[in-house]
């Protein structure tokens, strides 16, 4: 360092200083955002990762216990049940909202009043998941709920006493129904965006060749829509995987922890039972799975971006 600096003339040194200032400027613009993300998001994440190898309970100084928390997860029936529920959530929230939205998008494209229907179906998506959860708790109420009243009125008197949110696995399915009600709208919008951006020529050609009825969506639209279906499905999988608010408001994961998903189990272990080590281990497991989903999702989205 010193050797090279000695060889420089004063003028060259001044210009070097100016260009260091110029090359520092972009960092100053990026710094605040990086600071916030590093302090509030990345540092906690690393801490959680470390904590998952300790016996932290929020009181004593934590000791490293290696993989004990992870081993405990594998043997605990709470965790395996929670994992099973999470899988049900992921699969169901890909199949139901995305599938239904796709069917609706095909059915409602270019129909009378299409704009109004779109708005109406999207309306539930503007509610908070917590608000939707409270709403449907009223509907699923065994004695005063509308659902059981309707079933009774339609002659299904044996079903009209159903405890939708108090029996497993029915409670998980009831909540998935609520989730579907809420998230169809957003998926519908993705597909309508997709349908609008389809190239016109293959569609017209197929129409002239006489493709009609169900053949049309199956042979023509579906292949062209594949990128949008992939993105919607991956996003639905990630979101279904992370559902917390709805479950917390409707059942708190109960009764007897029967409707917990990993997100809820993590919260309960960490903030109600104070098993912070185990809780951190669950958070790490969730992160790894979410990371895998996100990788595929980002690859799909980034593929569309030609810049950088």
């Amino acid at each position: 360092m010193t050797v090279t600096q000695q060889g420089r003339t004063p003028a060259r040194r001044a210009s070097a200083r100016r260009s260091t200032a110029a090359s520092l400027a972009p960092y100053l613009f990026v710094l605040p955002a990086v600071f916030f993300v590093a302090v509030f998001l990345l540092a906690p994440m690393l801490y959680t990762f470390w904590q998952s190898f300790t016996d932290a309970d929020g009181l004593r100084t934590p000791n490293l216990v290696g993989l004990r928390n992870y081993a405990e997860l594998l043997t605990s029936s709470n965790f395996t049940l929670s994992l099973r529920n999470t899988l049900i959530w992921v699969v169901a929230s890909v199949v139901l909202p995305v599938g239904l939205a796709f069917a609706l998008a095909l059915a409602l494209e270019r129909v009378v009043g299409g704009n109004f229907f779109r708005t109406a179906l999207y309306l539930p998506s503007t509610l908070a998941a917590a608000a939707a959860g409270v709403l449907f708790s009223f509907i699923f109420d065994p004695t005063s709920g509308v659902l059981n009243a309707a079933l009774g009125a339609l002659g299904f008197s044996s079903l009209s006493q159903t405890e939708w949110l108090f029996r497993s696995p029915l409670n998980t399915w009831s909540m998935i129904a609520t989730y579907t009600w809420q998230s169809v709208g957003a998926n519908l919008m993705i597909f309508l965006i997709g349908l609008q951006s389809l190239p016109r020529e293959p569609l017209e050609a197929a129409k002239i060749d006489g493709a009609s009825g169900l053949k049309f969506p199956r042979l023509i639209t579906l292949p062209l829509m594949t990128p949008y279906v992939t993105i919607a499905a991956l996003m639905a999988a990630v979101n279904g995987f992370k559902v917390f608010d709805l479950i917390w408001v409707m059942t708190q994961g109960g009764p007897a922890r029967s409707s917990e998903t990993l997100a809820v189990t993590m919260y309960r272990e960490g903030f109600i039972l104070f098993h912070q080590g185990v809780s951190a281990a669950i958070a790490v497991v969730i992160s790894l799975i979410a990371l895998a989903f996100s990788y595929f999702y980002l690859r799909n989205v980034m593929d569309k971006e030609s810049h950088v």
Binding site: S23, A25, F29, V30, P32, A33, V34, F36, V37, A38, F40, L41, L42, P44, Y47, T48, Q51, L108, R110, V111, V112, G113, F117, T119, L123, P124, T126, L127, A128, A129, A130, A131, V134, L135, S137, F138, S144, V146, A149, V184, A186, M189, I190, I193, I231, M235, K242, F244, W248, L262, M266, Y267, F271, A280, I286, A290, V301, M302, K304, E305
Partner: protein
């Protein structure tokens, strides 16, 4: 139908038959859509109409019966008084300050990365963007611990700082995309006129980014307004707690809010985001496009 195709065949019969078929499809689809929409909105209507009943009518009658009186106003007042009022204003301030702060910091970062050609810009972008990849559970315990030991737990500042941080990654993603698509010539012209980096950002770029910023404001405000998890973990007192944890608390088995009051509370908690959507629908659609398809 039969009469039209019965007699003779006009030269463009095939075409008009197809057009007629298309029209039938559009109308049939419209009817089907109408039925689906009624079915979809029925849960909302059936529950919300119970906010018009008083406690007695709600408990004695059936929930699907139309309300006899008009007690909406007192139910709303009850809900407002049970902590929802303070939650409302808390979330309003978090939503506005949190999203505005995040958008400003994210715009600065995106400007630095794209327009000032930060070395290894993609790497820095991914560092910021990584904040959207991990599920929220991974932040909870350390945040809670750090907040309690630094005196940020259950404070307005603590909540706002976190909301700013959690909104930055997505805002950076959107602003970066916007800055990439902007032409370069007027930036170079401004530089020749003697503008420094800061002036280029503040005087030239910001006025041009109003549209994506409004979309982001809408989306991030809605996100913060609807947040339950971080409100549960980082706050407890009425004058800090956001609206959703307050609502969830009212619903608890031992909270003792009666049915009509709780339903009125849901209405209050849902109204702002519902109105924002209905009033600014085109911007919402644009935001949805950005957050899902990524262009």
């Amino acid at each position: 139908m039969t009469t039209a195709s019965g007699g003779f065949t006009p030269p463009n019969a095939g075409k008009s038959a197809r057009a007629r078929k298309e029209r039938t499809r559009m109308v049939a689809g419209g009817v089907l859509g109408g039925i689906i929409c009624v079915f979809w909105l029925l849960p909302l209507l059936l529950v919300f109409m119970n906010a018009f009943k008083d406690k007695r009518e709600y408990n004695m009658g059936e929930s699907w019966q139309l309300p006899q009186g008009f007690h909406l106003w007192e139910n709303l007042q009850n809900a407002w008084g049970q902590g929802l009022g303070s939650g409302f204003f808390n979330s309003l301030s978090y939503g506005l300050v949190g999203s505005a702060g995040a958008i400003l910091l994210a715009s600065l970062a995106a400007f630095g990365i794209v327009r000032l050609k930060l070395p290894r810009g993609l790497w820095w972008f991914l560092l910021i963007y990584s904040g959207t990849i991990f599920p929220f559970q991974v932040y909870l315990i350390p945040l809670f611990k750090a907040y309690t030991s630094f005196g940020l737990y259950d404070t307005w500042v603590g909540m706002v700082l976190f909301y700013i941080a959690i909104c930055i990654p997505f805002c950076t993603f959107v602003m970066r995309g916007f800055f990439i698509s902007m032409p370069w010539d007027f930036q170079e012209a401004a530089r020749l006129d003697g503008c420094n980096d800061w002036m280029i950002f503040w005087k030239i770029m910001l006025p041009l980014t109003r549209a994506p910023m409004l979309v982001l404001l809408l989306f991030q405000f809605t996100w913060i307004w609807n947040d339950l998890l971080f409100g549960l973990v980082l706050s407890k007192s009425d004058n800090v707690r956001p609206i959703m944890p307050t609502l969830a608390g009212m619903q608890g088995l031992y909270a003792g809010s009666d049915g009509p009051t709780l339903i009125a509370a849901v209405m209050i908690a849902s109204l702002p985001t519902l109105l924002l959507f209905l009033l600014l629908r085109p911007y919402f659609m644009q935001g949805l496009r950005l957050s899902s398809v990524g262009d």
